[in-house]
Structure formats: C-alpha cells, structure tokens
C-alpha cells in the first residue's frame, strides 16, 4: 500500500469514530432513511422477481446501502452520477421516485425509461442520473465527459462514477483515472468493493491489496474506507466533493463492503464465499451499524425511526400499485426512441460558387465556422491541438478557440470517445477525432453500447449530439491496421448515423449537419479523397440534409451507387464508357445511414441495372444491404443480377501493387458495368 493511501485510510478511520459529532440530526436522519428506503425497495423487488412480475434480472444492492446514501447526501440536484448494473440504490439516494423506478422494472410506459431500459438502465436526466449501465466500467468514461462539460461551462457541478471492484481491472478504469487527473476533472471515482466480481474474488484477480492504491499511479488521492459506515462515507466524500468543486481534480474512494445476495436475483449460482466471511459481514449490516450510532447519541427519536419505516412501506405499496396499473409501451414509440429527428436543411449546391478548396480545407472551414457559431462545440483527439491533426483537419483551431475547446487527448481511444458521449449527454456538442479510423475498434463499446443506445435505453428522451470523425481507407501505403473502411459495422448498429462525403462541397455541408444533429454521427473521411483535387465550396456556412443522396451524373443504361472514394472512380468509369455509347448514372448516397432509398430505387427503376461500388470489403459490406433493398423493392424492374464491387477479401497489403489490387479500381468498376449490361 502506498504511503498516501495508508495515511488517508488511517485518517478516515479517525473521522469515522468521531463522525456523529459532526453531523446534525437532519443529516443523520437522511442517511438512515435513505438506507432503509433502498433496503425496502430491494426486498420488494426480490419478491416481485420471484413472482415473475419483474423479469430478466435485477441486481440487489442490499448490504451496500451506506455507500449510495453517504455519497449522494453530499450532492446537489444538478450534480451528475453514473452507475452500473447494481444501480437501484444510487438512483434512490439521488432522489429518484420509487413509483417510476418500479414501473421501469415492470417494463411499463410510465417507467423512467418507458419500459425500454429495465433494471440495468434506470436513469433520470432531470436528476442528472446518467443511468445504470450493463457494461462493467462504462460509467467511468461517460463520467469524465459529464465532468468535462461542467468544467467547459465553468460550472461547479461534480460527477460521481460508481463502479465495483471488478471494473477496476477494465482498461477504461485506468484510462479514465489518467484523463481525469490530467484534465483535473471535477469528479469522484467511487469503488464499491464488495469483494466479488460475480463469483471471482477480487483478491485472486487484482494486482493490489487495496484498489485505492492504484490512485497513486495517476497522482490522484486514493482512500480505502469502511463502506458499511454511512457516516464515514459521508464525511470522506464531503471532502472529496469540496475538493472537486474547488477545481482540484478527482479522488478515488474505495468503500469496502459486501453484498448479501448473489450477483443477481436469479440466484442460480453456487456460492463461492466462505461461510465465516459471509456471516461476519452480515453481522456488520450497515443499517444496524447506523442504528447503533443513532442509539448511542440519541440522534433520532425511536418514534421517528418507526415512522420512517411506515412511510417507506406506504410509498412502496403505492409504487407497486402504480407500476402494475400502468400500461405497457407499444412498438410505435420505438423508432423515435432510436433516433432524434434530423433537421431539414436547404443546401446551396456546389454550382453556386467558383471558389475551390481541398477536401481537408473544407472540413477545416466547417469546424472553424461551427465553433465560431456555437460555444457548445468543442474538439478533442490525439494531436488535434497545436499540430492541427496529422492530416491538418483541425489546423488553426487551437490558436483561435483556445486549449479548453481544442483538446489534445492521451492515447486512450475508448475513454476519450466515452468522454465525448458523456459530454454530449451533458449538453455539449463534441467533435472527436479518431486519428486513423482503424483505432475505432478500441472504442466499439462506447459507440455500440453507449452512444448508440443511450437515447433508446432512457426511453427516447435524451440526445447524444456527438461527432466521431476521422480518416479511413487505404491508398497511402499504411497497410492492414491503418487502411480499413469500416462503415458497415456502424450501419448495422441502430442509433448511429453514418456519413461518408465524396467531394469538398459535401464534406463541409455534411460535417456542419453532423455537428448540429442530435444523434451520434460517425463521419468517415476517405484518405484517397484527402489527396483529391480541390472542388467548389461556398464560403458561407451551410448544411446538407442527412439522408439525402446526390446524383453525381445522370444516365439511362445502368446505375452505379458509389460511396466516398469510389465516387470519383465511378465518374471516371462513366466518362470512359460514354465514348462507347453507354450511359451511366452515378448516385452517391452521401449518408450511409439513414440511406436515401428513394433516390436509389428511382434510378434503378429507370436504368434496370445496378452496380454498387465501395472501398470496404465486399462481403458483409454496405453493398450487400443496398443490393438486398433494391432486390426487395425493385425486383420486377431488374434486368440483371446486381453486381457488387468491393475490396478483395484480404487485409490491406503494404506493397504498392497489391494495395492497388485490393482497392477497387476504375477498371474493376468498368468491368462490372459491362458485366451487368452483358
């Protein structure tokens, strides 16, 4: 154990003994009542689970009540908390209503998430509860984002990330601790060490005796305290909250505790915990510990304690009744719960100007103008600040808008993307650069399970206005881990918007639209286009509607749907074939999801033949989806099988000739066109 943590621990023990002196009666009563409320809620939920009224599963907080009560008693309504699968207690302590919680557990329309979330996703944005979370450790990156949002707005809200001992072995714990320390974020890491991650003892799976000692590696204060003593928790957290509000950065507090039940209410697992250990902890029931202290100091009259119990029972009866009488949600609510509406923009058209700039300059101009227009827009990523990004997309932004709004990040993709998600939820409009899009694989949980689902899990209320942008694709000899085209992954995930511009004009207008959109947008910039010719781009600020394709060239014999870097190649192929009297229509979807089916289908119904070209692998690519849609909806118009042109089935080779062989060429597009005409 580090000296710092040992000292702090000793200090906190002293605080624990003297604790009652420092709390006034209303504070003690609050702590006690909150614990009782959580206990009773969990007991009732367990009954309902066994009756089959609460389904799936739920994770009981019984035995750990002192932590939620002690932590949240220090928080203001506008402070943020983020939680994990064992989250009922945190919500109750932060002030959530039992009836709406109960309705959610029963999957009802009146629940906090309209029945779309269930136990593992309960949240209330009005109370700044960012929600329970089904993915171990995910609360931490999200919390860095909420904390960053209050820092950027010069507010003094603090954010508390709750997590278990198991989560301290996830990479995002370490990344988040580092980020919070480097940026002095106003937050608390509260580790509820109940000593077992499902059935695995933390002593067998964690490199340190106490998790708080890990704080030293990040120059963050770390303390281990008695998590079954609500007063001790309250006092230690009070200091940490004050510290965070003063702008002095994060604190890691490890609360030693024990859960009474199994991992989940399903309770179908063999018990790994030794009997004597179990019994010793049950004897230290946090409510009994509190009652003993109250009794000793006569802090709350016996009569009042009895009343508290009665009030909770009345509330719970009403909550169960409310849930059971509430209607089930209907499927009609689902689409709007997945996506916030997209704005409708009028675009000026590329022909409206003669000024020509490059693809990169167009992106850069969009960022400059949007940051100038809206204070909530900020940017972060690796080397995006003084360097301006390795492809210079953010050039000059730091000079103009400062280091707070243009932030260089540590190399921690999962966490800075999660930070973006949290900041977006908390009201900012982050633009996050992934230096090379292949690195996005490290952030998939934050994109798939967090960004894409957040609105839905919370019943369709919150918005996540986030842009994740960066270069993808090959063509500059960067080989297998710096050259992939990955749009199909994102297009398969409901909740994400996927944009892939092919011209400087589209790049600017679509990036502006992406920043203003209230959904998480994956914005893909093909590297081959960075190298392309300048094109006309209006100087004024404009946005192109998401989900609207552009017919880049009209024709009548065959339709080519081409995306991103394949658009210039398809146009070149069309030019070549025109000399032979073959008339090719080139449609660029511009947005991969939502896809403008209407424009594609109208074109195919005119030409009766379709070739799809993209730089990504053919197998499982977006071309498969487009082919399926066309076949389903224009079957009787098709005169030939649809052809797909995509990368060959191998990672990107380094060798120049092999790289050119892998990426679809103009010749391959020509060949495919001839194929469908033949």
């Amino acid at each position: 154990m580090t000296k710092q943590a040992t000292t702090a621990r000793r200090g906190s023990r002293t605080a624990g003994r003297a604790s009652n002196m420092k709390l006034d009666r209303p504070q003690i009563e609050t702590l006690y009542a909150t614990m009782r409320r959580i206990r009773a809620f969990e007991e009732r939920t367990t009954e309902l689970f066994h009756q089959g009224i609460v389904k799936g599963t739920a994770h009981s907080y019984i035995g750990e009540e002192a932590i939620a009560a002690g932590v949240c008693a220090n928080l203001r309504p506008d402070d943020f908390i983020a939680s994990y699968h064992r989250g009922h207690g945190h919500c109750i302590a932060k002030g959530a209503k039992l009836d709406r919680m109960m309705a959610e557990l029963m999957g009802r329309e009146t629940g906090y998430c309209r029945g779309l979330g269930g136990s593992m996703h309960i949240a209330d944005m009005d109370l700044n509860i960012l929600g329970a979370n089904g993915i171990v450790g995910a609360a931490m990156p999200l919390s860095t984002g909420a904390a960053l949002a209050s820092k950027l707005r010069s507010g003094d809200q603090v954010t508390v990330a709750f997590f278990g001992d198991g989560a301290s072995n996830q990479g995002v714990f370490h990344e988040s601790m580092n980020l919070a320390s480097v940026w002095k974020l106003p937050m608390l890491f509260v580790c509820e060490n109940n000593q077992y991650a499902l059935t695995t003892s933390y002593r067998n799976s964690t490199s340190v005796a106490q998790i708080a000692t890990r704080a030293a590696g990040y120059e963050v204060p770390g303390v281990t305290i008695d998590g079954n003593d609500a007063v001790e928790v309250f006092l230690v957290v009070r200091e940490a909250v004050e510290r965070a509000r003063r702008g002095e950065g994060p604190t890691l507090i490890e609360c030693m505790t024990y859960r009474w039940g199994q991992h989940s209410m399903r309770a179908n697992l063999p018990e790994p915990r030794p009997k004597d250990e179990y019994e010793a902890w049950i004897a230290r029931d946090p409510i009994v510990v509190m009652e003993a202290a109250i009794d000793r100091d006569k802090a709350v009259p016996k009569k009042r304690m009895k009343e508290i119990g009665e009030e909770i029972e009345t509330d719970l009866d009403a909550a169960v009744d409310f849930g059971q009488k509430s209607a089930e949600p209907t499927p009609e609510i689902l689409p709007e719960a997945v996506y916030a509406p997209h704005a409708k923009w009028e675009e000026p058209g590329a022909a409206s100007t003669k000024r020509e700039i490059s693809f990169v300059e167009a992106l850069n101009e969009a960022l400059h103008q949007e940051m100038g227009r809206d204070d909530s827009v900020f940017m972060m990523g690796e080397d995006v600040g003084a360097t301006g990004g390795i492809f210079q997309v953010s050039k000059g932004l730091m000079d103009k808008y400062g280091r707070e709004r243009v932030r260089d990040t540590p190399i921690s993709e999962a966490t800075f993307v999660g930070c973006g998600v949290g900041a977006a939820i908390a009201g900012m409009r982050p633009v996050v650069e992934i230096q090379i899009f292949d690195f996005v694989a490290l952030t998939m949980d934050m994109l798939v399970n967090q960004a894409a689902k957040f609105r839905f899990m919370l019943g369709g209320k919150p918005t996540v206005p986030l842009v994740i942008r960066g270069p993808q694709g090959g063509g500059i000899r960067l080989a297998a881990q710096h050259s992939q085209s990955l749009e199909a992954w994102f297009a398969h995930v409901p909740g994400l918007v996927v944009v892939a511009p092919s011209t400087p004009y589209d790049a600017k207008g679509l990036l502006v639209a992406a920043i203003r959109d209230d959904n998480p947008v994956i914005f893909l910039e093909q590297k081959l286009l960075y190298l392309g010719q300048p094109g006309p781009v209006p100087e004024e600020l404009y946005a192109i509607p998401l989900g609207k394709a552009d017919v880049k060239r009209e024709g009548k014999d065959v339709t080519v749907v081409a995306t991103s870097s394949m658009v210039p190649r398809a146009l070149a192929a069309a030019g070549l074939l025109e000399r032979e009297g073959i008339s090719v229509e080139v449609v660029d979807p511009r947005t991969i999801h939502p896809l403008d089916e209407e424009t594609i289908l109208a074109s195919v119904k005119k030409t009766n033949r379709l070739v799809i070209a993209h730089e990504a692998w053919r197998r499982g690519g977006i071309g498969a989806e487009i082919a399926s849609i066309v076949m389903e909806k224009a079957f009787d118009w098709l005169d030939a099988p649809i052809a797909r042109v995509g990368a060959t089935d191998n990672p990107m080779p380094y060798n120049d000739a092999l790289e050119r062989h892998t990426i679809p060429s103009q010749e391959r597009i020509v060949e495919a066109i001839r194929g469908v005409l033949g």
């Binding site: 009802r108 993915i135 990479g171 490290l442 899990m457 297009a491 977006i622 989806e625 399926s628």
Partner: protein, 337 residues
Amino acid sequence: MARMTMIEAIQNAHDLAMERDRTVVAFGQDVGFFGGVFRCTAGLQKKYGKERCFDTPISELGIIGAAVGMAAYGLKPCVEIQFADYMYPAYDQIVSEAARLRYRSAGEFTCPLVVRMPTGGGIYGGQTHSQSPEALFAHVTGLKTVVPSTPADARGLLLSSIEDPDPVIFLEPKRLYNGPFDGHHDRPVVSWKKHDLGEVEPGYHPVPLGKAAIRRPGSALTVLAYGTMVHVALAAAEETGVDAEVIDLRTLLPLDLDTIVESVRKTGRCVIVHEATLTCGYGAELAALVQKNCFYSLEAPVVRVTGWDTPYPHAQEWDYFPGPTRVGRAMTQVLES
C-alpha cells in the same frame, strides 16, 4: 445414443478436446472455479487444474489479447466472453490482432483461437445482454464465424473450431442452451433430453466448418437460418403448412454457398431469418449472394425477417424477436408474390 443439453454438449467438447490435446486451455470470467455463468465449463478446472482452466479479471480486452499471444506460441485457447454484448471492449484485439496475425506474418504465426460467446435475446436481458453481433465478425476477413443450432452440432462444431488453425468466433444462442426453443415464448420449452434433436453420439466427432445442413427438405421455398431461428423456421413451416426447405447454415464464414444456390435454384424463392437487426445484417450478404447467383431462377424478391432496427427492447422483447408468426407470414407472402 446419449441425449445432452447444448450446455452439456459444449462442456463435453471442451472435455474431449482438453483430454486429447494438452495445448487446449479454457479461460474467461467465472469460467474456472464456477464453470461459467451458463455452466459450459463446469468441472473442467477440477479435472484439468488451474493452469488449463482458470478465471480472469473483468478485462475482455485482456482475455482476448492474452489468448492471441498464447495461440501464436503454440497453445489452443478456447475463451469465453460472458455475454456477446461484452465483446466490444475486446473488439480491437479480435479484428486487428487475432484476424490479422497469419496475414501480417505471412503465415509464420497463426492464431488457433476460439472465442465463445452466448448471443441472442429472449431472456429479458435488455440492450446489453441480448445482442447478435455476427455481422460484425462476418465482415472481417481472417475470422471464421460459427453458430450451432443443436447439441450435436454445438459439440462437433466446437471440436472443429478448436482444431482449426485460425481464429473462430463461436456464437452460442443462449435460448437454445436448454432446449429447441421455437419462438413460442408462452409455451414451455421441451428439454433437449426429451427431444430427438438432443441426441449426441458419444466420442470425438467433429462437424466440419463450412457445411450447411438441410433440416427440412421442401420444394416451395428455401429458408436460410442459423441458431435459434432454425427452430423458429421449422415451427413456421409446420404451422403454415408451407413446404419449406429449411437450411441451417451452421457456419456463416466459411459459407456453404453451394447448398444455398442449389436449393434456391430448385425452389425459386427464398426467405432469410435472423435475430440481429436488419440493416447491414448477415441477411443482406445472403440476399445479395442469392440474387447474384440465382437471379434467373428467382420468382419473387428474397425477403429478410429479422430483429427490428432498434436496440433489443426490454418491454417488447417478443415483438422484436422474429417469431414463427412473422416468419410464417413472410413465407406466405413470398409464395403469393
């Protein structure tokens, strides 16, 4: 002939492989002492010791990363991700490392690794315990993707996956662990132990990767399905009386295109069923391949029946799930169009 649940069959595959080959190791969260949350590795630690079957910290990225290194240096790790939904923190290790190792080293290193994970919904698991992410793997060159639908296949395909010299993603439909669930969630599921499809021949019998199985021969239309949806499709065929040929793909990659093409050229109609979301799902690839290879035999558009394009909803679980009613309706529709 013995009958086993799919859980027992998977456990048995581990046992057979570990007994036969000392380089096979199994690990993951709660896999060792406890035998896995679904009990697929029960008893292995006791039999083979803590060196060959062990618990890991909650660190999916670490689990896969360590397994890639072990595989490169001669072991055959068979690792469990507790729920498929938890694989995202490890996604980079799967797609950038495991899938690339052979290619990047020009064959000098291989990655004989199996990543097992329970998939699919139907247990009120909500958005983060119900996903079917197969399309995210099937798009990645260098990986193989397997989805069994019976205990015998689960065992046989897992044995082949462990033997395979390349990384295999082994997706276990969790609704099939105990019985052939056909989508009628309001009826009790017959246990594999009381079902003919639960029969598993004792001994070491690998089932080859890349070979589909025709679960029901028919002439009116072809149904392409895998995992849970095989049983849903069989139920739908019986309930509608449509003479459907039900093909169980068993492995998505490598795909047995020949069996599919032969069937669709015969029937002229095709319905594709999966539980994953529609857009850019594996059904899109199948539909694109079918129209490409059977264009002149198709008498109706290929239809996809899938989960909705939403996260898995907690409350409307059974509306999201493409059950026998929806599949049956699609069959009738394809016959009428």
